[in-house]
Symmetry: D2
Subunit: 357 residues, 4 copies
């Protein structure tokens, strides 16, 4: 199985980068979620390529055609299928590369896994384009979560050598997360946006790409979601997040920083604030023993630099088992992390909807 996720909500993603369309079937949605097309369009717009020099020049409108599961503006509760056409496809770019196993790509692993039958054009089913249906599904999930008062947002924490300020996990106002959703380069520190753009521009000018870290928060989550062990909140979030192409690490709360900490420092003390239970600090990122404790959920995700770069590289010609020069002619993102901001919001929305149902 490759492309089905979720326990109560199952999302089944399909499509190839240069096929007719990509899309998703969402099964298990509750009936009666009001579908706000403008909000869906806004989310799709956040991920859409071709908007400026920081993303791939491939220009897709990314309009979603809803085939089923919505009636008179509300979800029916039966499977919802949304389809996003591929319109700006230039497959000629890829034909010459059929046998070339590019570094950093899934060409070789997909070749072995699928016995040479996979659609190799533009990464096929392994392409970042498959995140478009995830953003669509997440937009619907988020409409459900917003009615419950939950807010989700993601900012750029690091691109190359440029660092933004981390969120204060113990106190994250919903406002700042909403603000992130309106920014093309969501950051906490004023002024850092220009430095990030410069960092990406430098990579682009060098015909290269650059990696990055995103920080995501989910606030106003009720306590007691998730389960110990295999359905821990961390297990569910990480399983989903690692399905996003280019993700290579995830950490919750103080994450890898815990290694240097003492228990007395790491332990978040529970206190009563009237009838509400809170913690003074939030090193644990809102999750104890795999279950939410009511504090903000905070996690950070690292994205490798886009493997497609303009710089000459060497690839393996699998038909000859010989190394050969590779000059990638396609259109690519100099920093995939930036484009992934709405994808992480969508992933978090889908996982928390699944947890809440």
């Amino acid at each position: 199985m490759s492309s089905i996720s979720g326990e109560k909500i199952k999302i089944s993603v399909f499509g190839e980068s240069h096929g007719k369309a990509v899309g998703v079937v969402i099964d298990g949605l509750p009936p009666g979620i009001e579908i706000d097309s403008d909000k869906i369009r806004a989310e799709m717009e956040r991920r859409r390529p071709g908007q400026d020099r920081f993303t791939t020049p491939r220009n897709e409108s990314d309009d979603v055609e809803i085939i089923s599961g919505v009636f008179n503006g509300y979800t029916t509760g039966t499977p919802l299928c949304g389809i996003i056409g591929n319109t700006d496809v230039k497959s000629k770019d890829y034909d010459a590369m059929k046998n070339l196993m590019r570094p950093g790509h899934a060409d070789y692993t997909g070749y072995i896994r699928y016995g040479g039958f996979a659609d190799y054009r533009g990464g096929g089913h392994f392409s970042g384009r498959l995140t478009a249906p995830i953003v669509f599904a997440g937009a619907i999930a988020y409409q459900y979560l917003q009615k419950k008062g939950i807010t989700i947002g993601t900012h750029i924490l690091k691109i190359g050598s440029i660092d933004d300020e981390p969120l204060n996990a113990a106190d994250i106002p919903a406002d700042i997360l909403n603000k992130f959703r309106g920014m093309r380069f969501p950051v906490v520190s004023p002024g850092i946006e220009e430095k990030i753009k410069e960092e990406i521009d430098n990579a682009r000018r060098d015909l290269d790409s650059v990696g990055g870290i995103l920080e995501t928060a989910v606030v106003n989550v009720p306590a007691g979601l998730g389960s110990p062990m295999f359905n821990s909140v961390e297990s569910k979030l990480s399983a989903f997040v690692f399905s996003i192409p280019a993700v290579k690490g995830i950490e919750f709360g103080s994450g890898f920083g815990f290694a240097q900490m003492r228990g007395s420092e790491a332990n978040d003390q529970f206190t009563a604030d009237g009838k509400t239970v809170k913690t003074a600090t939030n090193h644990t990122g809102g999750i104890n023993g795999g279950m939410t404790n009511g504090m903000p959920i905070v996690f950070r995700t690292v994205f490798r630099p886009t493997p497609s770069i303009g710089k000459p590289q060497r690839a393996l010609d699998i038909s000859k088992m010989e190394s050969t020069e590779l000059k990638i002619q396609g259109r690519h993102d100099p920093c995939i992390a930036v484009r992934a901001v709405p994808v992480l919001d969508a992933a978090a929305a889908l996982v928390f909807m699944d947890l809440l149902l």
Copy 2:
């Protein structure tokens, strides 16, 4: 659902820290795996508490009683149930703490999630003791993998401020992994073991605990395992690893280090070595697009410091919604990361067996 994992192999873990026993049902095992009891015992021994001052003084023999699924020394292919008795249980230690929500523990989240019905003694089902059946299941999976030539091993990369040398991901001999399995404090650098012990001893003497990072490698894995998207190797490994208590982050290959890298640097170039495809570097940790590429799988896992510490802390008495002093009297590990070494080996074995079937 809390405690079932896997796609082809399902493992269903049960038990509480201070109940009769903990155990596991493994469903979907292939028939005909020869069960070597000595190897199982050796694995259990690696995780067993009560062995020295670096682990909890709770002393359990951790003998496994196999109830079903093994006949004449081989797996039958029908469900295998193994049970590990709890013998050294001192529940009096915990009675006074029924209403105390300890910092860093799953007391509060479990209280909300299970409506006050959970067994609170010694962490109940949320205890690290539940890793014993995972180690048992992993020992069986490893016997399967060894026949296929696969080797798995884990070393301590960091405890507090003490760092071991990372493995060279592009070239990991099976021998070093086997050596790790024989060491109580598996490390790469000679001499670092003593420093680690000292770091833990310092924490213990301060009635405190300390965190750490483990590095795990799996070598001789065939290419083409896993799937893009939701069943990526990273998704499956991370979902399992985050079910281990105290884990707060995971990274594959260069992991969080990718943030600072350029694509030209991060891309591992494929080359032909006779009929074998290899990569010169292994930043990606053996996984491209969610599928194995035949190079060593490398991942790092961070463990928070044990929340149970002897130092006085404050807890929330949920019955009075009041903060109160907490002096934990139970027996605990000053550094849970060290005990987790065989648990990570077991997790990796179970995930790779599932991928191979």
Copy 3:
């Protein structure tokens, strides 16, 4: 979850009778299945409505648009999505019936289950039209099975008071099953077709409908497929078959006839035919202890009469909680069992493909 089935192959069905389209995503297909469009079209044609007076006059071309998962004529191994447009839709027929809970239909249960948000037009997601994507998916599965030498076929065993001859379960040539696939009214006995048509015609003329029983066989299945208990072949087949609208019973081999039998009569004796193991009789329908024994799989499925009939009936107006006269104006099948023949073939193909993978 409503519409996802399968263990290794997951099929996710979507769509509503009077929406834009119905369709299916098939996840887990092996790569390299050659797609023969003519065979798919032939299967769709067998189920297609509007062909004669024995089926609903709704006239759909039922062309399938493959969106993903096929490249250069072969399955890629990544999710295959096929969409079948709804073209001959007359929704005006249904608008007046929004609040009418028709007898025998899923109007009331769907109304409660989905809180009034379900698409009520033409049965919405609960319509027999949803079997079109199942037939499409089954056509692909059957191309896989045929390469392995497996043949599947279904005949009409009973419509109203007219009985066809049952197959001899111990000896079913592939030829007769292939012949069934070419017949619009597949039967064993010559001459029975006319009587069946007459029986259906009588019901149609009375503005009524009639039920029926179909008998399905699968031959040349290898022994040892399936599992004891919850993944028995009978469990998997029945779970799928009961997802077909109007099915109300299933029996394997001698089925309900076993009640009257003695063990000495019911036991199929195993014998060696050279190196092949056979049974002299096949009361068990090719399945012992939930696993295939290599003999023909035989099962019978009963279909209730189509609930939509022209005869005046009474329905419940749920908005007024009052009974009211109902005269159904839509276009319906006088005998749904006949149309279900290719659906059962498809169901069997999908289940056996799942078992073989």
Copy 4:
């Protein structure tokens, strides 16, 4: 996977007929179900062998040891493991039969499926003894359902040539179902019990066995449970019921009788009874379009005659590929259907609990 079932509640059954024990892990149980040990014992007693001449002389106490998941008399919400020891085991009876493929048994299919590694003693994991843990799990589920006012009961509808009266599906009082639970030979018609005993006794005296049909009802089920298509109530019930050894058919409501009916006759008319929606007749067995309609659920299950009979038969010696005489010396039930009454109650309880959660 062989032995895991359920969507929200997963039950994982393990054990072999002549191993140490059989048992079950129930994962996903809600916390706070009060465990009434007497009720559990009473259910186990209903299934227990060795009680009279109508069941196998194997005498087991069938006491359940609860290992986990219950604390202070209530379910904790974490996995509940119950174990039932095998005490009256006479494996010598079976040793000679290692290579004998008995007619009607899973010997041959299990041999092929598990490559000769399965425990062949007394049917191993394929034995009817595995229904003991199902009855235990069902007893817990039933305590949950009873609090919700749901009643389940099963009676013998037919054994050999003796027929009991079917229930009137449109009107089944909870009382009659409760009465069934207290009877060793639950029947509707007075006087029929003696005839049934005689029928079984005749078979037993002939060293033979006999088949039968059971009719099960579930009353006071809320409307709107289940889903269309693959999670229909019929799909879920049938998948579970076909996991019970010896089941070869199931029908809902009028079942196979629908084949002879006209739509006008088969359609159950919805009417308002105050604020309650009812149907005048209940041909559909309480299920429309795969979802409950609030009327009694009624289904009938057929059991083949026990394959183990004392009469001389012929078996296949797989080591020599030769037919040989078989005289079964073990202890067996002359009519497995009678013993299955509490198993069907348990199956229904587990499925409806899963639907309600």
